[in-house]
Point group: C2
Chain length 329, copies 2
DNA sequence: CGATCTTACGGGATTCGTAAACATA
DNA sequence: TATGTTTACGAATCCCGTAAGATCG
């Protein structure tokens, strides 16, 4: 009811943009038959179509005898209107088609800094090479913040650790991030190919702050192997952890993806085994809500990026190989 | 063919503005059933309508389960587009409806100065009281110029003497303008109620220039009564004729309508009889071309104006009575 | 279990193309 | 007479409303 009042004419005047386009062609050609040819329809059909518009508007649009077709004043009045509407219609739906096909859009991603630094740049670079008109908005945050951003709709997708099961959030695994020990290059551990978790029984452990996805795993690891590790040193930022390790205050356990953030500092990363722990990372999104076509396509690029990294590092993580190269510096 | 290329989407995307309006209502209410109520249609019909748009665009517009209806990104993209198109459509056709109903428009009239001065002001004043948004464009010119203006489309209608029969010009009589003699108030002729054409056998005749509608009639009149009148004095403008008569250089014969243009100059007008000549005045327009609705309505006002003048002057012309009042000054 | 969207189906309206009729230069 | 528009008519399509079905809270 409010609608019928708000738009008074649209509910009564039933004219499709295609009909207006047909009118425009007739007006431009001043001939029903030629216009019919251009419109790929029969001439009587076009004649009736125009008649229909005329009946709807209650006025003649063309003065026509068998030889001449000329716009009436009402027709001259309608012509620019029709042209404007058709142009608007066409350009709008052209834009929309580009959006729907993923050529245009804006992808907002809430992500852990490690993913933002390691996985995203390559994926975005390759994606933008194909879709230069898609913009990205990246919100790097800790796991919880990222989830909230997705839930509030501020971010379309989140790249984080697997969240607690939540009806309104869906999680799709992307990769699992192997934990390793991080120590100085001159540390005895750096000589080994891998290390076991009980190393932290004899070495000071630098823990990440509670609430981080890393801390959740390390807690679970120590619990599983029955090791009571006192968090003597605890920090929130990787840069801090890096500095602490570098200062010989202890060693830490971090997923492989985080290490490039500490690169070129003389630290190395070696897999932690017996058992090996992994941090499941993936894509979260609001359950039951569609993604933009561009984001949908971009997710494919993310998977490709992950596969490529796995292939490059041949079973280990890229950080592993980088850490291996470190001694050669 | 050029059209199909120029407007690439409009020929493939077949969406009526009403469908977009329906989409807007669903988007605003987030409910198919409530929207269906507002749109005065059944809910399944609305469901199918939305589905149709979705199929046409190749994307979902709403994420919907049995409890919630939410816009998808594509739907959010379409919403402002739909609103813009619907608004444009509605306001444009609202304007057009005002034009078609004669409430809005522009009437261009090519007219003889006498009609412009005597008939038009009253008709326009009464018309604009009812249609304040209709503009007038008046081109006052001699008969031939006015006809050309109408033929060229510069003027929509012409108010002139009856033209030579012309296929491309149609003439509708409006009034016939009685000829009379124009002389000084102190002239002996002013004492008489009327005068015969042979008065010009004994008095100098001031002729209007060849090509004027007045000259055409006076020539015909002299020819008919067999009077050879030498055009000793000839002029194009009524103001000149007025001055010549006022200077006692002669007298002239003019249709009643022209006299108000010479009013308050001490001249009087008396009917010329035996026989009485009349200048047929009317409305010319291009044959076979429609008029604007406003002009069509205005023509009715012109006829009313003429009838009113005839009633006021009770069988004579308004000029006649005004001339009669002159001696009382 | 209730509210809501979707699918199925029959009827009515609209629109198309072909063919014939019509009108003017 | 030739060109171009309108009318007539049968067929296909589209769209609506009613009724039944499915699904989630």
């Amino acid at each position: 009811m409010p609608v019928l009042e708000a738009y008074s004419f649209i509910m009564r005047i039933n004219i499709a943009p295609q009909q207006l386009a047909a009118f425009i062609v007739v007006a431009e050609t001043c001939s029903f038959s030629e216009a019919a040819g251009r419109l790929a329809m029969s001439q009587p059909a076009l004649s009736r179509l125009i008649r229909l518009i005329e009946d709807t508007l209650g006025t003649r649009l063309f003065d026509r005898d068998t030889r001449n077709v000329t716009l009436t004043p009402a027709g001259r009045e309608l012509l620019p209107i029709a042209q404007r509407i058709v142009r608007e219609f066409d350009s709008s739906f052209s834009d929309l088609a580009r959006f729907v096909s993923g050529q245009r859009g804006r992808i907002s991603i809430a992500t852990l800094p490690s993913i933002a630094a390691v996985l995203l740049p390559g994926a975005i670079a390759r994606f933008r090479a194909k879709r230069p008109d898609v913009d990205f908005h990246i919100l790097d945050a800790l796991s919880g913040t990222a989830q909230e951003a997705v839930l509030r709709g501020e971010a379309e997708i989140g790249l984080t650790a697997q969240p607690q099961p939540d009806r309104s959030l869906s999680f799709a695994p992307l990769l699992s991030d192997e934990f390793g020990v991080v120590c100085r290059r001159d540390d005895v551990l750096a000589q080994l190919g891998s290390t076991t978790w009980d190393v932290f029984a004899s070495r000071p452990f630098i823990a990440m702050a509670a609430g981080t996805s890393v801390r959740a795993i390390t807690d679970a690891a120590f619990l599983q192997i029955g090791l009571a590790v006192a968090p003597l040193l605890e920090c929130s930022f990787l840069a801090t952890a890096r500095a602490l390790v570098n200062s010989r205050l202890g060693i830490t356990a971090l997923p492989g993806l985080t290490v490039p953030l500490m690169a070129e500092t003389g630290l190395v990363w070696r897999p932690l085994v017996s058992p090996s722990f992994r941090r499941p990372l993936g894509i979260i999104r609001r359950a039951g809500s569609s993604l933009t076509p561009a984001a949908l396509e971009f997710i494919g690029y993310l998977h490709t990026e992950v596969r490529q990294r796995e292939k490059e590092t041949a079973g280990g993580s890229a950080i592993h190989s980088e850490a291996s190269e470190a001694p050669t510096e």
